[in-house]
C-alpha cells in the first residue's frame, strides 16, 4: 500500500516548510536550559536530603531506644530512606543524559520509573496506615492497662502523627491517580514502539 505513495514528493514538500530564520543558540539559551536542569537536580538533591534525614533519625532511634521497638522503627526508617533515595535517582536520572538512550529505551525506563513511583506511594500509604494503627494500639493498651503509656506519647501520636498520616495518605492517593494517568499515556507510547 505504501509503495503507491509518492514519498519523494512529500519529502520535497516537507523540506520546503518554512522555518523562521533564528539566530544560532547562544550562552543565554544554554543558561536557560541549564536553569531548568538545575531545578531538576535540586529536586533530586532535596529528595536525597529527605532520605538522609530519615537515615539520621533511624540511627538516633536505634541508639536512644535500644529495644525491639527502637530497632524496628530504625529498620522501618532505613528502608524508607533507601527507597526514597533510589526512587529519586530513578526518576531524575535520564534528565541528565539523553545521548545514551534509544527513544524506545527511554520510554521503557519512564514506564518502569512510573510503576516504581506508584509502588513507592503505595508502600508509603501503608506506612501511614501502620502509624494510624499504632496510635490506636497505644490507646488500646492504655485502655486495657496492658502497658503504661506516657501521656506525652499518646498526645503526640493522637494529635500529630495520626492526623498527619491521614492527610499524607489522602495526598498520596491523589498523586497515585495522577501517576496512573501518566502510566496510561506511557504504556500507550511504549506499545507504539514495541509493535513491530
Amino acid at each position: 500500500m505504501a509503495d503507491n505513495f509518492d514519498f519523494a514528493a512529500l519529502t520535497k514538500s516537507w523540506q520546503q516548510h518554512p522555518t523562521s530564520t533564528e539566530a544560532l543558540p547562544n550562552i543565554a539559551d544554554l543558561a536557560q536550559a541549564k536553569q531548568r536542569q538545575t531545578e531538576q537536580k535540586w529536586l533530586l538533591y532535596g529528595e536525597w536530603l529527605g532520605a538522609v534525614v530519615m537515615f539520621i533519625a533511624a540511627c538516633w532511634l536505634a541508639f536512644s531506644i535500644p529495644d525491639w521497638l527502637g530497632y524496628l522503627s530504625a529498620f522501618f526508617l532505613i528502608c524508607g530512606a533507601l527507597s526514597s533515595a533510589y526512587v529519586a535517582w530513578t526518576v531524575h536520572k535520564p534528565i541528565l543524559e539523553y545521548d545514551n538512550w534509544s527513544s524506545s529505551g527511554l520510554i521503557q525506563f519512564r514506564v518502569r520509573a512510573c510503576k516504581l513511583t506508584m509502588r513507592y506511594y503505595l508502600y508509603t500509604q501503608l506506612s501511614c496506615g501502620a502509624l494510624v494503627v499504632f496510635s490506636g494500639l497505644l490507646w488500646w493498651m492504655q485502655w486495657w492497662n496492658i502497658a503504661q503509656i506516657s501521656a506525652n506519647l499518646l498526645v503526640f501520636y493522637s494529635l500529630i502523627v495520626a492526623p498527619l498520616s491521614l492527610i499524607a495518605s489522602y495526598l498520596l492517593q491523589q498523586k497515585k491517580r495522577k501517576k496512573a494517568a501518566e502510566l496510561k499515556q506511557l504504556t500507550r507510547l511504549a506499545n507504539d514502539f514495541q509493535s513491530e
Binding site: D29, L106, S195
Partner: protein
C-alpha cells in the same frame, strides 16, 4: 551533510556548524511534535544543552548527524512522555492559517499539500512519526538505525508501516 569531524575544530565550533546545517530540520521536527511555540523554544534550548554536554562524543561519532537527531528525538519523546501534556494538541486553525500564510510557495495546491502533510504527520503515532520525520529529512537507513538504535531491517519495517499510516491519514483527511 559534508561537515568534517576529523580536523582541528573545537567541539563547540563543530557543534555550532552541525546545528547550523540542521537548524531547519530541527525546527520542522519540533513543529511536528509540539504545537506551543514557547514549549518548542524550551525544547530547542534543552536539545542544545544536551548537545553541548555531549559535544566531544558527537565530534568523535561516526555519524554526527545521526547522533544529533538521536538527541533531538529523545528530548522530544521524553517531552511527550512526561506528565505535563496529557493529551496531544492538534494544530489549531489559527496555527494552520499562519502556517499556510508563511509558506513560501506561491502555488495554492502546494500550500494545501503542506498544510495537509503537517496535519497528517502530527497525527501519526509517536514511533511512526519519528521514522517518517527522519526519512523526510533525508537520513538514510543506516543513519535512521543509528538514531533509533534498531537494526536496518526494523527501520524498513517501521518506515513502511509509517508510510501506510501517513497515506491513510492523508487520504481519509482525518
Amino acid at each position: 551533510m559534508t561537515l568534517s569531524n576529523s580536523g582541528f575544530i573545537p567541539p563547540e565550533q563543530f557543534l555550532l556548524e552541525l546545528w547550523q546545517h540542521n537548524q531547519g530540520a530541527i525546527s520542522r521536527t519540533l513543529m511536528a511534535c509540539e504545537a506551543d511555540p514557547a514549549a518548542r523554544q524550551d525544547l530547542k534550548q534543552d536539545i542544545y544543552l544536551a548537545l553541548h554536554q555531549s559535544a566531544e562524543r558527537i565530534q568523535a561519532a561516526e555519524m554526527p548527524r545521526a547522533y544529533l537527531f538521536r538527541i533531538v528525538h529523545n528530548v522530544t519523546v521524553d517531552h511527550i512522555a512526561r506528565a505535563k501534556r496529557q493529551q496531544w494538541q492538534p494544530l489549531d486553525e489559527d496555527s494552520l492559517h499562519q502556517f499556510v500564510q508563511d509558506c513560501p510557495s506561491t502555488e495554492v495546491g502546494e500550500q494545501q499539500q503542506s498544510q495537509q502533510l503537517m496535519h497528517a504527520v502530527r497525527q501519526l503515532s509517536t514511533a511512526n512519526r519519528q521514522v517518517i520525520l527522519l526519512a523526510m529529512e533525508d537520513l538514510d537507513a543506516p543513519e535512521i538505525a543509528e538514531v533509533l538504535q534498531i537494526n536496518q531491517g526494523a527501520v524498513r519495517v517501521r518506515l513502511n508501516r509509517a508510510k501506510t499510516e501517513l497515506m491513510e491519514i492523508m487520504q481519509n483527511g482525518r
